[in-house]
């Protein structure tokens, strides 16, 4: 199949090319994969289950803070801290989810309540000395692979590549499973899903747990890669928006949507910044315009548009 061949070539390129790239491209590629990963993570809940979270920063921040605090205070390897953060985030996701779902919050109400949860965590983090308050936490760079610290960018690239591919494979497995069908049903029509025997609350919570777990792993990657976290960088609304943007533009509720979204959006942003340099704001203005146009003319995202042709 042609699609499969294209996929394999792309994968081979992603694995083989980076060592040959200039630093800038490697840096951008890491961003692309990182956003793609966040998008895939968001997609499980937002795309497949149709629960439009605007507060995934909550999980991202929990992941980043858990692994970093465990590392700095108790010398626990972030590889382990990453899993701990994921579990904690999933726990918080289940808590926040069961509250909102049980009370029947849907659509914009769910979006707003998740936004509020993330903002509350941000305000708490800003005001808590024990987690570094606004001074944040920094991880000194050094080479210690057992501690998720590498010399140079390339190893991080392969880590995030593996994470992003893992998220894609997991999403594909979900899509083809009973859970995937159930989530689709929930997204399309919750009443009809219930009538057809789908335990909609349990399905939404399952999606929430998976999505928040994955997002938290992204938080740990961020902390290790950039070496510094603070409340606004991790719990701020920008993180939530980044994830969902890739998914929506690429195609929410499709396996490759967030990947495609990120591989299109990030270069657009980089190119427009390069082209409009020296005119502060022009590039983000263009980005906003592109967003409006994409949603107006490709309401199902790039992948959706491609499929419908």
């Amino acid at each position: 199949m042609a699609a499969r061949a294209v996929g394999l070539v792309a994968l081979a390129a992603l694995v083989a090319l980076p060592p040959l790239l200039p630093k800038y491209f490697l840096e951008v590629l890491i961003s692309v994969l990182f956003y793609a990963y966040l998008g895939e993570s968001w997609n499980v809940l937002g795309g497949y289950a149709g629960q439009f979270s605007f507060g995934h920063a909550a999980f991202f921040g929990i992941g980043a803070y858990t692994s970093t605090l465990l590392f700095l205070r108790l010398a626990v390897s972030p590889w382990i801290g990453m899993v701990a953060g994921g579990l904690l985030a999933a726990g918080f996701g289940l808590f926040a989810g069961s509250l909102s779902f049980r009370y029947g919050l849907r659509g914009p109400y769910f979006s707003l309540v998740t936004l509020a949860f993330a903002e509350m965590l941000r305000v708490v983090a800003v005001n808590t000395k024990a987690v570094g308050s606004s001074l944040g936490l920094s991880i000194a760079p050094r080479s210690a692979p057992a501690l998720f610290l590498f010399d140079g960018k390339l190893p991080y690239y392969y880590v995030i590549l593996a994470m992003a591919l893992g998220a894609v494979l997991l999403t594909r497995a979900i899509e083809r499973s009973k859970l995937g069908y159930a989530l689709h049903a929930v997204r399309e029509n919750e009443d009809a899903a219930e009538a057809a025997g789908v335990d909609t609350l349990a399905m939404k919570l399952r999606a929430m747990a998976i999505s928040s777990f994955l997002t938290a792993l992204g938080g740990t990657f961020y902390a290790q890669y950039y070496g510094y976290i603070d409340p606004s960088l991790t719990f701020g609304p920008a993180v939530s928006i980044q994830g969902l943007l890739q998914a929506i533009v690429g195609g929410a509720g499709t396996v490759l949507g967030p990947f495609v979204g990120s591989f299109v959006l990030t270069p657009i942003s980089e190119l427009s910044r390069a082209a409009l340099r020296g005119r502060a704001g022009a590039d983000v203005m263009l980005y906003g315009l592109i967003l409006v146009l994409v949603i107006s003319f490709l309401p199902h995202g790039l992948v959706g548009w491609f499929r419908r042709r």
């Binding site: 009973k178 069908y181 159930a182 689709h184 009443d191 009809a192 899903a193 057809a196 025997g197």
Partner: protein, 239 residues
């Protein structure tokens, strides 16, 4: 004949409005019961309560010997009580086959098995050729069939059908009547709300008539049709 569904004193209030008032209703195994009454009589509300979408204000609902009051719709469905909606609610973005697979997953966790069963059911209701069409592209008649197929795929013992014939032309209605007979022949009991009198009279073993939320008559179709109160209720509506 043992009762499959036994409803006693079922009452549903919305604020000050009583939509269903002390309803008693039985459906036996393998029985077809028609639930009729003028618009606003409380039929659909009764369905919502029985299938778990609303919690009853008072009363008892026993299905297969155990109370289902307070259970969620999906749990009731798993026990063998499936329903359709008055306004069809397909999963518009999914294909016909996928729609039915959702129902089939009640009886199997295996995707291939669920798909195979869904195909059978689609063929059974006569939608086999539309298997891969997105639900939103189907005609109204086909969407009604799809909705029945989705309910059937859950392998119910009792099927609650809410106006599956409204909006259809006479040929289509005849087809649905035929389909319902086949379903019944397979041992599924049916409780149906219907305004197409010709069809209800032909299908039902028993009729239950609701008016202003209360049961005003029940019995074999022929008897009920001659009931003075029933005639008044319907005349009152049209007057």
């Amino acid at each position: 004949m043992s009762d499959l569904l036994r409803v006693r004193g079922l009452t549903k209030r919305f604020g000050g409005l009583v939509a269903v008032n002390r309803l008693d209703l039985d459906v036996g195994a393998g029985e077809i019961v028609g639930l009729i009454g003028p618009n606003g009589a409380g039929k659909t509300t009764a369905f919502h309560v029985i299938s778990g979408f609303h919690v009853p204000s008072a009363g008892e609902i026993v299905f297969k010997g155990a109370s289902v009051v307070g259970q969620k719709p999906h749990a009731i469905c798993r026990r063998g009580l499936a329903r359709t909606f008055q306004i069809v609610q397909p999963f518009a973005g999914l294909t016909a086959l996928e729609n039915v697979m959702i129902g089939a997953f009640n009886r199997t966790g295996d995707v291939a098995e669920g798909r195979a069963h869904a195909r059978e059911v689609l063929d059974f209701v006569g939608l086999g050729s539309h298997r891969d069409a997105p639900a939103r592209t189907l005609t109204l008649a086909d969407r009604k069939r799809l909705e029945m197929a989705r309910a059937l795929a859950t392998q119910p013992e009792l099927l609650l059908l809410d106006e599956v014939m409204s909006g259809l032309n006479p040929t289509e209605i005849d087809q649905i009547v035929g389909l319902l007979r086949t379903i019944h022949a397979r041992g599924v009991a049916i409780l149906l709300i219907e305004h197409v009198m010709r069809a209800v009279m032909a299908l039902s073993h028993r009729l239950v008539v609701l008016h202003h939320g209360e049961k005003i008559a029940q019995g074999p179709p022929g008897e009920v049709a001659r009931d003075r109160r029933v005639i008044d209720a319907y005349l009152g509506e049209s007057a």
